[in-house]
């Protein structure tokens, strides 16, 4: 029995890794055959960014049960930290053109280092803010972290910080993976591949954390704080770990977002952004990593791509005056409300995507369900005659 179980889980592990590899090859092919400005490329890049942030939020909200709404704030910290260090020297003066004395940062870091640094800065701030706010109960925590995000957003635009953050002006002309890999043999694979790899590593680490003994402790805290504490789990310590880890990856997500846009300003990192990420997590299923990834894909692909027609007057071949600017988002929010109200568990619930299970599902579909239907139809026909 036991042996059977482990070999089964091993099989599904290999199958899933295989599926991941397949996805990676697909990404490589897309990179090799598409232009940087193609919609597919843009969408996939953004999906990777959002997937990291959504999964990091899921770690905190879904697995540890801490309802935090500070994600946008940590993303902003990551994005700014990364951006400051990846402005090419030759345009630095121009970017900081409105600031008296220009930038005081004269260091330029490789992209990967800057991204990591973004994550670390976000984690550091999370540690500091976590000291007071993690003691708060559910909704108070939510509102305190939301407030923190808003504070951060104001502070970076402070003119006194201009020499570092460029005040209220955007940090633009950032280095990108495309530019960084120019002239190297990887040039062809510089569109989606780097995002895919970084997102993949981040998500893999989060999955490992969740599967470790610490992940179990997080889940225990979510299920029952009092029992968890009675079983020897230091609540403050573990909540902080989860919060700091989640913010670290949110920071990395933010850094990727900065690179994706090649420019950063404080404007997009509002609470609305946090809400969007939360809704992604909900659509995918709170407590499911693959759900969050899937949710990011569906969310970004439909809002940026599939539902575009709703804004421009023509959708699925139907044109109507109703389809004008903004209609896409209305339809979209209605879809989300339907999810929130009627499919509360999201697409995946707390389950994870599993190739073997899906294979099993199709197998069942074709060996049992479909023949069952056919039988029913036949019976009905017979009865009708």
């Amino acid at each position: 029995m036991k042996k059977n179980n482990t070999s089964k889980s091993r099989l599904s592990l290999y199958c899933n890794l295989g599926a991941l590899l397949l996805a990676f090859i697909l990404v490589l092919v897309i990179d090799a055959t598409h232009n940087p400005t193609d919609m597919l490329v843009k969408v996939l890049q953004k999906v990777c960014v959002y997937a990291v942030v959504a999964v990091s939020m899921n770690l905190l909200n879904g697995f540890t049960g801490l309802f935090s709404l500070g994600q946008a704030g940590f993303m902003l910290l990551g994005a700014y930290t990364c951006a400051i260090f990846i402005i090419p020297d030759e345009v630095r003066g121009q970017v900081y053109g409105y600031i008296e004395g220009g930038s005081i940062v004269h260091v330029r870091l490789p992209l990967i280092v800057a991204i990591l640094l973004g994550g670390l800065v976000a984690a550091l701030f999370a540690f500091l803010i976590g000291l007071p706010v993690l003691k708060l109960k559910s909704d108070y925590l939510a509102i305190a972290t939301l407030g923190f995000a808003e504070i951060v957003r104001t502070i970076v635009t402070w003119e006194k910080l201009g020499p570092v953050t460029n005040g209220s002006f955007p940090l633009s002309k950032l280095n990108t993976f495309r530019k960084a890999l120019e002239g190297t043999p990887f040039e062809k694979f510089s569109l989606v591949t780097p995002y895919f790899l970084i997102a993949g590593i981040c998500i893999a680490v989060i999955v490992l954390i969740i599967r470790s003994t610490y992940g179990r402790a997080f889940k225990a805290i979510r299920d029952d704080e009092i029992a968890a504490e009675a079983m020897g789990i230091n609540l403050a310590h573990h909540k902080r770990l989860s919060f700091v880890t989640s913010s670290f990856f949110a920071g990395i997500g933010g850094a990727l977002f900065a690179i994706f846009q090649a420019s950063v300003s404080a404007a997009p990192f509002t609470s609305a952004m946090t809400y969007e990420i939360l809704l992604i997590v909900v659509i995918g299923g709170i407590g499911s990593i693959t759900g969050s990834v899937l949710g990011s894909f569906l969310f970004i692909a439909s809002s940026e791509w599939w539902l575009r027609g709703l804004d421009s007057g023509k959708f699925l071949g139907i044109s109507s005056p109703v389809f004008r600017n903004g209609f896409r988002l209305v339809v979209f929010s209605v879809i989300i409300m339907i999810f929130v109200l009627f499919f509360r568990k999201g697409i995946m619930g707390t389950k994870e995507f599993d190739v073997v299970k899906i294979g099993g599902f199709f197998k069942k579909l074709f060996t049992e369900t479909v023949p069952g239907w056919l039988k029913k139809i036949k019976h009905k026909e017979a009865a009708d005659q």
């Binding site: 509102i143 903004g326 929010s333």
Partner: protein, 288 residues
């Protein structure tokens, strides 16, 4: 004085919104994230209503429509989730907020809509040597009247008694034969109505309404409710005046004026960490 008066006025407007938060939280233990957007929608409705009809018709109409909107939101988005975890309801509230903002964005086409001038409110008057609009003076008075009325309703009417009972113990009051749904609807109607009044006063001070107009005042009012002790009506009013006055004073100092919002949130975090139950809040003990 130049900063204190607008502060008191803003405080009054926040108070009207904050009461909506506090009432709903008291009864459902839900942060109604959509409340700020209801406030914004009230502003937009006013814009559209005044293009078709005179002010004396449109103001009452908007107040009623907003109350209906609050009622509708509760029935559609919160009632189905009555027995699910608090987090689901909060997410639903965020979803409603997202929907209202996007709907507003669609209807306005993303353009700022000019708020109608209500002559009586925006005339300038001079008081204590500083010139200001009449709305600044009227707001605190109106707030006081409305709050006293509300407190009387809650204290002396049957529905008010039911509201108090439900906020003390949801399940028991249900068992005692209180119609929970009626009470909750009443709460949302009152909250939205007050938010609509607040929106008339608030937008009279500002030139226009945009879909995100509700977010910031909404959050500030929420902070006010928390500072005062969420669940307590006098708390919400006191908190709102504190938030409004602080905001106005900080806006008056050019070096730090951009921190007026940041300060509000700092106040929130500090209050939450020092006294999470706010100034007038009650303490709850978890039973093991």
């Amino acid at each position: 004085m130049d900063y204190l008066l607008p502060g008191i006025s803003a405080g009054g407007q926040y108070a009207l919104i904050a009461i909506g938060y506090t009432l709903v939280y008291g009864i459902l233990r839900l942060i109604n994230f959509a409340h700020g957007d209801v406030f914004m929608v009230a502003g937009l409705m006013m814009v559209y209503a005044t293009t078709y009809m005179p002010l004396y018709v449109s103001i009452p109409l908007v107040l009623i429509l907003t109350a209906v909107l609050g009622f509708g939101i509760e029935r559609a988005a919160y009632k189905p989730l009555r027995s699910s975890p608090r987090m689901s309801v909060m997410i639903s509230a965020i979803g409603v907020s997202y929907l209202l903002q996007n709907l507003a964005l669609y209807i306005t086409g993303g353009l700022a809509k000019v708020y109608p001038t209500i002559k009586f409110l925006s005339e300038t008057i001079t008081i204590f040597g500083s010139t200001t609009r009449r709305v600044t003076v009227i707001t605190p008075i109106l707030v006081l009247v409305l709050v006293v009325a509300l407190v009387l309703v809650i204290r002396y009417t049957k529905i008010g008694m039911a509201m108090r009972a439900v906020s003390k113990d949801f399940t028991t009051s249900q068992l005692m034969g209180i119609r929970i749904n009626t009470v909750i609807s009443a709460t949302f109607v009152i909250g939205s109505f007050l938010a609509a009044v607040g929106s008339v006063l608030y937008f009279s001070n500002y030139p226009s309404v945009v879909p995100t107009s509700g977010a910031m005042p909404g959050l500030r009012a929420f902070v006010a409710a928390v500072v005062g002790g969420i669940g307590s009506i006098p708390g919400a009013v006191v908190g709102a005046f504190i938030v409004g006055i602080c905001e106005s004073l900080i806006k008056g100092i050019p070096e730090i004026s951009i921190f007026s919002d940041a300060f509000t949130f700092l106040l929130l975090i500090v209050i939450l960490c020092v006294k999470p139950t706010g100034i007038f809040g009650e303490k709850n003990i978890d039973k093991v």
